[in-house]
Symmetry: D4
Subunit: 231 residues, 8 copies
Amino acid sequence: MNSDAQRENAIHDLGFAQVDLDRPRRRGMPEVIFCAGKTPDQIIGIIGAMKQAGQNVLGTRMSPEQFQAISRAIPEAAYHETARCLTLEVAPRPPAAGHVAVVCAGTSDLPVAEEAALTAEWMGARVEVIRDVGVAGLHRLFKHLDTLRRARAVVVVAGMEGALPSVIGGLIDRPIIAVPTSVGYGTHFAGLAPLLAMLNSCAPGITVVNIDNGFGAGAAAALINRIGEPA
Amino acid sequence: MNSDAQRENAIHDLGFAQVDLDRPRRRGMPEVIFCAGKTPDQIIGIIGAMKQAGQNVLGTRMSPEQFQAISRAIPEAAYHETARCLTLEVAPRPPAAGHVAVVCAGTSDLPVAEEAALTAEWMGARVEVIRDVGVAGLHRLFKHLDTLRRARAVVVVAGMEGALPSVIGGLIDRPIIAVPTSVGYGTHFAGLAPLLAMLNSCAPGITVVNIDNGFGAGAAAALINRIGEPA
Amino acid sequence: MNSDAQRENAIHDLGFAQVDLDRPRRRGMPEVIFCAGKTPDQIIGIIGAMKQAGQNVLGTRMSPEQFQAISRAIPEAAYHETARCLTLEVAPRPPAAGHVAVVCAGTSDLPVAEEAALTAEWMGARVEVIRDVGVAGLHRLFKHLDTLRRARAVVVVAGMEGALPSVIGGLIDRPIIAVPTSVGYGTHFAGLAPLLAMLNSCAPGITVVNIDNGFGAGAAAALINRIGEPA
Amino acid sequence: MNSDAQRENAIHDLGFAQVDLDRPRRRGMPEVIFCAGKTPDQIIGIIGAMKQAGQNVLGTRMSPEQFQAISRAIPEAAYHETARCLTLEVAPRPPAAGHVAVVCAGTSDLPVAEEAALTAEWMGARVEVIRDVGVAGLHRLFKHLDTLRRARAVVVVAGMEGALPSVIGGLIDRPIIAVPTSVGYGTHFAGLAPLLAMLNSCAPGITVVNIDNGFGAGAAAALINRIGEPA
Amino acid sequence: MNSDAQRENAIHDLGFAQVDLDRPRRRGMPEVIFCAGKTPDQIIGIIGAMKQAGQNVLGTRMSPEQFQAISRAIPEAAYHETARCLTLEVAPRPPAAGHVAVVCAGTSDLPVAEEAALTAEWMGARVEVIRDVGVAGLHRLFKHLDTLRRARAVVVVAGMEGALPSVIGGLIDRPIIAVPTSVGYGTHFAGLAPLLAMLNSCAPGITVVNIDNGFGAGAAAALINRIGEPA
Amino acid sequence: MNSDAQRENAIHDLGFAQVDLDRPRRRGMPEVIFCAGKTPDQIIGIIGAMKQAGQNVLGTRMSPEQFQAISRAIPEAAYHETARCLTLEVAPRPPAAGHVAVVCAGTSDLPVAEEAALTAEWMGARVEVIRDVGVAGLHRLFKHLDTLRRARAVVVVAGMEGALPSVIGGLIDRPIIAVPTSVGYGTHFAGLAPLLAMLNSCAPGITVVNIDNGFGAGAAAALINRIGEPA
Amino acid sequence: MNSDAQRENAIHDLGFAQVDLDRPRRRGMPEVIFCAGKTPDQIIGIIGAMKQAGQNVLGTRMSPEQFQAISRAIPEAAYHETARCLTLEVAPRPPAAGHVAVVCAGTSDLPVAEEAALTAEWMGARVEVIRDVGVAGLHRLFKHLDTLRRARAVVVVAGMEGALPSVIGGLIDRPIIAVPTSVGYGTHFAGLAPLLAMLNSCAPGITVVNIDNGFGAGAAAALINRIGEPA
Amino acid sequence: MNSDAQRENAIHDLGFAQVDLDRPRRRGMPEVIFCAGKTPDQIIGIIGAMKQAGQNVLGTRMSPEQFQAISRAIPEAAYHETARCLTLEVAPRPPAAGHVAVVCAGTSDLPVAEEAALTAEWMGARVEVIRDVGVAGLHRLFKHLDTLRRARAVVVVAGMEGALPSVIGGLIDRPIIAVPTSVGYGTHFAGLAPLLAMLNSCAPGITVVNIDNGFGAGAAAALINRIGEPA
């Protein structure tokens, strides 16, 4: 079959990694590099293969130390400190379309929220971030309701008891993606408490991603955002 | 020591049970009978010992079948169906004092909420119950804020994601006792999800009791209520 | 404030339940009745309040026994046996718009898949269900790829090891909602195994709902589907 | 609505944080700063906003390193080493009223107990701390019974098997707040063992907070203490 | 080797079971029949083989229904209802020696305590059972301290929070075997709460057996009891 | 591609199920029917499709009630009571080749062991079953060592503490597949205890299948057995 | 009461700790110092109080760093490196009596085994340690059977799958105390795997202590050993 | 018995370790040294004993620091960096026979895969390693199907959701050994997610080893490989 051949040609074999250059066709986005546990040399190799193929690059969970080593080899790469991400713009991105909202419950949840926002932007969405609006002071949330009701998708990032998605879910009619964070202690069990809360939300239509997975939430929001674009 | 002797005399030995008749002096309330797993005859024996000592009786987790058998022997006992409790009034109760609020998130949480309310009343508190005010429709809660702000203690009963205590905790300055219920499915793990949420609440001053433990929450609220009574 | 008053008027107080008739305005859908643990009389009461307000009714987790009792009082209600749901059409539904795909890994996962499909339909989406396409025989899946690639959202229902969403996630660029089911034994832990697999999927953009929560997945898919509708 | 406006004005927007200056009115206490994971600059910003609003400051989970950096900017702040807390007195505190007892099972539980004591004091209670009275030598506890029986609320801090609250709960008629600590090893699971013990106590009326949450227990005790104050 | 041959001869092959008749020589006690999940015919077969070998029989976890079927075939067998055990005395037992104490926290823990007591007796110990002396009323326990201090081993059976072994462990210098029971609800997790408490006891020298394992505790106590016998 | 077409033709679409008739070619064995949770009509439909394709049938986890209903429609099907399996021989089976040993620790583990044995036989292996040789009486095991050392693969089925595979693993040089069973109580957690023991065995080369998964172990053993066959 | 007064006098109040000098009378052994998490100064204070009272000292979980600081103040204290313990002999110890065996499965379990051995010796037992006799090579164990059969109590220390106590339990008639260790990885869960195995042992009469709790096992063995001493 | 004597002679007693030199006879392979937690001196001692007995050496979980210290004493030892293993060839190895395939899902899983490959080779198998073929890009896997179908055993190493073994299991008829890795975050729980997925695979005949246990998988594959060798 034709597309089989296409797919096989679209693998860049680095020995330690088979870079899947066919992703944009199948998945609508290039492969994203999960940098935790990879050496700078491995990451540089993968970026090189993608650059050569004309694909934009997003690297997540990258430490400042990793970036320092990489930027010596690839000086045009940009680092996003709070989000702990690298981006490299190779191809022009389509003009930013409809918007996605990212809501962050507490100050300590910001790195995860920023990863979500950056990912959604990288995939072509406009993003508005709303910070520090936890349920212990709901009035801080209420003043942003209009922004939330106009968004195509809403990412809600929360640690502690993870109640914020349920509260927002009772107020708007947009798809909501909840992200539990590992911010807490004791019976928080590094994110298990808000994860369970989010999976058991009494507000219908909330979906959930892995603990601290801002990237996954941003990607899902961007895919939903595209549903609203003119074909 | 004198009180040692008092205490030893205050044990009624039924063989299978040592009824602790010294409780009112030490704990400010008679022993309460946890009926799950006890035979009607055992319960009748314990009630008999307490009645003889002039103590009021509260039996929790009592099935209708247990009550039927018991009421043949003790016809003056009363059954509270939703709360699944038996009461028997032997001594006159002090006039009901300050009030306690019991808030119930969903219809299915009612048995636990009613157990809490009945317990607090039995221990001398006036009680107001607020039903079906889950976080997916917060306006149902807001119209009861004044009642909550005037209460000496507030019991909040919730299953699902257990977010209600956090929301209330952000709005009032009263002691809050949160009760997770086993109402849910899947990752609810029979109450673990709301328990963890409540233990990790971002609203300070919320305390928690065991899953479905309406009795414990009602008892704690009643003890707090007494702190506000004139000595 | 005006909308506060609207919301308060929109509560139908049944004593045991505060029916939230304001949902369609806030959430774009009426309140849905979770029937497990409710008595037929409670359900009949809630349906009555909604009918009177001109709102369509969906009741989930309804047993055949519950339906039998209810249909005597409300003969125009319909029962969907595999999905274990009741529907009652009061208001005309908008013409079915873009489509949602529901993929079901194994025969035993069908009730959850049908609940998802029914919910999405009830909320205005066209739905295509693809049955019994587990990963142990991938060719059964491949022949449906076109349907999946044209859907606005894809719900993937799987028990056992829950690998199907990852495989589909590697092949299409649509939002995917994964539903773990409790079908399995031993270390399946009643759905925990596929839940964890889905939360850790290496395919970006997959979101997850609670174990056996076909309703939640269907609702999320329908909300996404609406994003694609002309405003 | 008037109070809505009040609330919105009472948010101090620092970008990364929305300081909720309306808390004293709603909750009877200013916002408390959870310092773990915040930078000194973030903390200094929040303290500045509170100070400007005339509110007393309590910062919990603060490391000596954090304090050193902060005290250069805010030299009037005080550090409490065992409790790992910062306080800054801006407004005069009301004269200390009724008393709260804090009981500590073992030497290693002291930091949590001191955090509870400091919090309760900061919220206006007099506090008595009773140290190292674990259940393996009950006579150490018995000599403090009078202090416990006169307290308005009793905080019991225990690691290991967490049996102390049950023993005290059998001896007094005061509200008891149990705090499990992470002190232990092996099947202690960093506090899970005493947490479960406390939630399952056979002494009625005991409530529980998160593992190591001395702050939450102290806040709850102080709220209860206020119930006993003349209005 | 000689003893190898002895051992091989000492196996009675029933097809479904290899009855190990060499146990008294190696282990100082005959094989004990765990009856849960065995058919009456299987149990009758095993008893027959043991009887023929002149060995006393103990069957644990036997339901009344199982016993009824078995007693038709083996009328001389005795049933112990609370302990849910069968015994059959084939060989004369040695005169009862030193004593073992079995302490039972609550009425609902009795079946487990009785199983422990019966087992220890069957293995040659004198046993004293102390009932219903939970930690919520310690004075009930204190009057039995002399009995406990004279015992060669003490079995402590407790559900709920499992605090009783720690309290007793602080008062006596005898080996203590703690048995958690499955009596409780919610976060009791069918015995996990008291198991963890017992494993983390601050009183040194306490050892623990499986949840509800009265048989194992009784056997351990009897083995310890024999250490004190004149050789 | 040719084999793609083959595969697509080899799906028998029953609506509720897509019977994968291509399995013998890809997997060396027909699809096996997991009967738990399927209706007799569904099972009859699947058997019919396989029979028509000339494939032998194995149905696992079949209750006697299910078999009764099925045998009315398919009288030539055979039921294996202990193993809870149905077989239907359509095609002649190859002559039984090398042998596989199935070792069963206790009488209660027999159903799982028999399922493993039947599966391995159905896939063409000769099987020897060794029963009731738990580690508490090792001499019962030692007399079977020669059988174990001659087997091409050894399946070891054990509940309780799951120690048997480790002991056998220290004595022979054959591939060992360990099957934990759900036989036990309390901290056995329905098979978790032996599963963990088997996964942590100090004897190298032991592999493990799901709790109670006799079928999987038998299939793995049969696949290994074939490796030893002349090509 | 007289002994009450004795007990109260027997508390040495250090502020941070109430040293319980009454232990030898009640428990037959002085208080033992758990050093993890204590400062050298706290430990020195406690040792000083015990020394002054003429009591022998055992400190467990002591790091070399802690010992170095302490030995400057108390040069006569001895350090046991593998067992990570400090001892200080103040009073003459009774002549060593009957013996206890400590069996160690693997080289990495040695620190826990040595802690058990040292504790039992410190409490007056003779001890024999048997090293590196894991179940993967049983013949290493068999040559020590006579030592085990003559011991008054046997401590068995094992990590990995924790099968050794079951194997020994099938061979001897002595009380066995099993100690799981945290030696392992992955599903070992830091000792949970052998803990569960030991709690579910099919050999009756085995009791268990917390993970890595060599001290507790040694103390229990020593208490049993005393049962065999002439009164 | 003769072989008993052989076995006892075959123990090399190093005090801290009893090196089991009888393993090649019983198990078909020498003892393998698990180096984590052992001192270089202990490892050197064990290697010395094996070398003297003419046995090849494999040491797993060895850090570069350990190797550096060891290679000074034993310069002929080789270090395998990715696999973190030491080998020392003392006896000539048999010519490599049939082959085993090792499949690795992601780049971060490589250390575990290399450990498996090295172990299988050390035990006499030829090995082919296939890298970075995760399920999110299945076409990368498909081009290796022939290699997999010709292998005598296939080891599949995967972290994240662990879906790869199921997909391969649906395509080939060879014994498959699945190895979950600890590569992931959040609800991955350090390997629990893929472990559960692998144990619940819908593809029959897959067996599983402990998380990160490349050694065990390689050993099992090598034992299977030998089944195919001419006797």
